[in-house]
Symmetry: C2
Subunit: 293 residues, 2 copies
């Protein structure tokens, strides 16, 4: 076809995929082209707007480094990441829900004994976390692995602290025979996503703030169960209703009980106020039949 119009060009592009021998790739690219073209037609995109889009995408790619992923941030702030999460992690009621991993995961945190303090030398109010890992029927899951990380009490991850080359506020823990876990860390604080790149400019122009409510990240796994990457959010945080990356789920909001200086659950005497958190994680078995259809 040699004379493509505003409407016929879409099918002309799709016709070109005829020789594609990867059916899934063809399905994805076909849908992508249709939705992109519909978008352009719907808004009547001008040539200047198209060029602004090209420049934005280019700058976004060029902002990415080993330590920074601006396209993931773009996906996060437009709700695409949590949509993909929702589609791929449908859970039965009561089961631990998922949240995105985010950009601050650091492979290889050390495994620590139950009750360890993961936050030696980390700023923030101490918090003692405990609870159980359970099956959907309420049976304990022994030997489940919790891979935990968070920023400090001021909202900064170790990777973001100038000159900090060692891990902070990270560690792995295994549940005991009754499925129990316990560890000490800090109460996490809200923090802004990086705003000095193209995505920050976009948020600003949209009239949006860049803050995430305080949260602690966790990957919970156990043999025979579905691994869950998730976040626990601090109840009462000012940004729970407007998380810049749309990550909050009701079941992931947990209460931090504040205590005056005194004896902590570990038996140690605390000279400063501290928090306690108790939360159980319910895991789904791999190949849960009810989820297969």
């Amino acid at each position: 076809m040699r004379q493509l119009s505003e409407s016929s060009i879409t099918d002309a592009v799709l016709d070109r995929f005829a020789a594609c021998d990867d059916p899934r790739f063809k399905t994805i690219m076909t849908a992508l082209v249709r939705h992109m073209h519909d978008f352009v037609r719907e808004v009547g995109l001008t040539e200047a707007e198209w060029m602004a889009g090209i420049q934005f995408l280019t700058a976004t790619g060029q902002t990415c480094t080993d330590k920074r992923q601006e396209f993931i941030l773009l996906s996060d702030t437009l709700g695409v990441s949590m949509l993909v999460d929702a589609i791929n992690n449908r859970k039965p009621t009561g089961a631990l829900e998922s949240a995105v991993q985010g950009p601050y995961y650091w492979e290889g945190a050390p495994e620590r004994p139950l009750g360890s303090n993961l936050a030696e030398g980390v700023k923030g109010e101490p918090a003692f976390y405990s609870g159980r890992v359970l099956t959907l029927d309420g049976a304990p899951v022994a030997d489940a692995l919790l891979d935990v990380w968070s920023g400090d009490g001021e909202g900064n991850y170790d990777m973001q602290l100038p000159g900090q080359t060692e891990m902070l506020a990270r560690g792995k823990l295994r549940t005991d025979a009754e499925g129990r876990y316990r560890f000490r860390s800090i109460r996490p604080a809200s923090y802004p996503v990086p705003t000095d790149g193209p995505v920050g400019m976009m948020l600003n122009r949209m009239g949006r703030h860049p803050y995430r409510p305080g949260h602690i990240h966790m990957i919970v796994s156990a043999p025979g169960f579905q691994t869950v990457t998730t976040q626990l959010f601090v109840s009462g945080d000012a940004y729970l209703d407007s998380d810049a990356v749309f990550g909050v789920k009701e079941s992931l909001i947990i209460d931090f009980q504040r205590h005056e200086p005194g004896i902590a659950p570990t038996g140690e005497a605390m000279a400063v106020p501290f928090h306690t958190v108790e939360h159980d994680f319910v895991l789904c078995p791999v190949m849960e039949p009810a989820l297969q259809d």
Copy 2:
């Protein structure tokens, strides 16, 4: 809203634009989010596919340099550029149609006298171009400017030739009192878009070739008339029906008449075969009333 579902997350994202004080930006971002989310839901994008998309976009941004724009190439090869062109350059029948500028424009080509050879030292079969610039009523447009560029007869632009720092096969010409233009260049050849980057990998995986039919680029302008950025395509080219960037329009395909060695239209004696091309350009006035509604 704290419990976002696969369907409610889209409205939750759109609600965040409430404070945006740029109505056009809000319109564009609203449509973009809707179509992106619909795309993700429609194909049921997996987390691995999402990550492949993130990596593709990142690599595309990082392939861009001062001399290469991989996101424009992506837009071109998915038909988005020509769709934007079509929407923004609706022309009455008979008027010169537009085509995309492409990545090989080089600002500041010299103005040359009518009849000049723009292709001194350029590989390829000589071609003598001539014709008129006219109004919709057929009146000549004197002093119209043609800004002309092409690759050589092997499909390479000057910018692509190693060590070539001077312009080749480029120049500006002005029509005479009868609206006539004439210049010598070469007959352009088909060429592949760059295939050594992410877009090349994409085309390959789609089962598509990267070729564009032979064409000469031109920006035609005159005071009081709408400027037209366009391309003229070589009739008979093998890729007219499958241009990798969907640029071909029927009215832009022109005949190259081949002549055995002999006397050229300029009067010079040609020792090699040469071509002649005759084509008129019809320009629309600025603020053409029929196009205003």
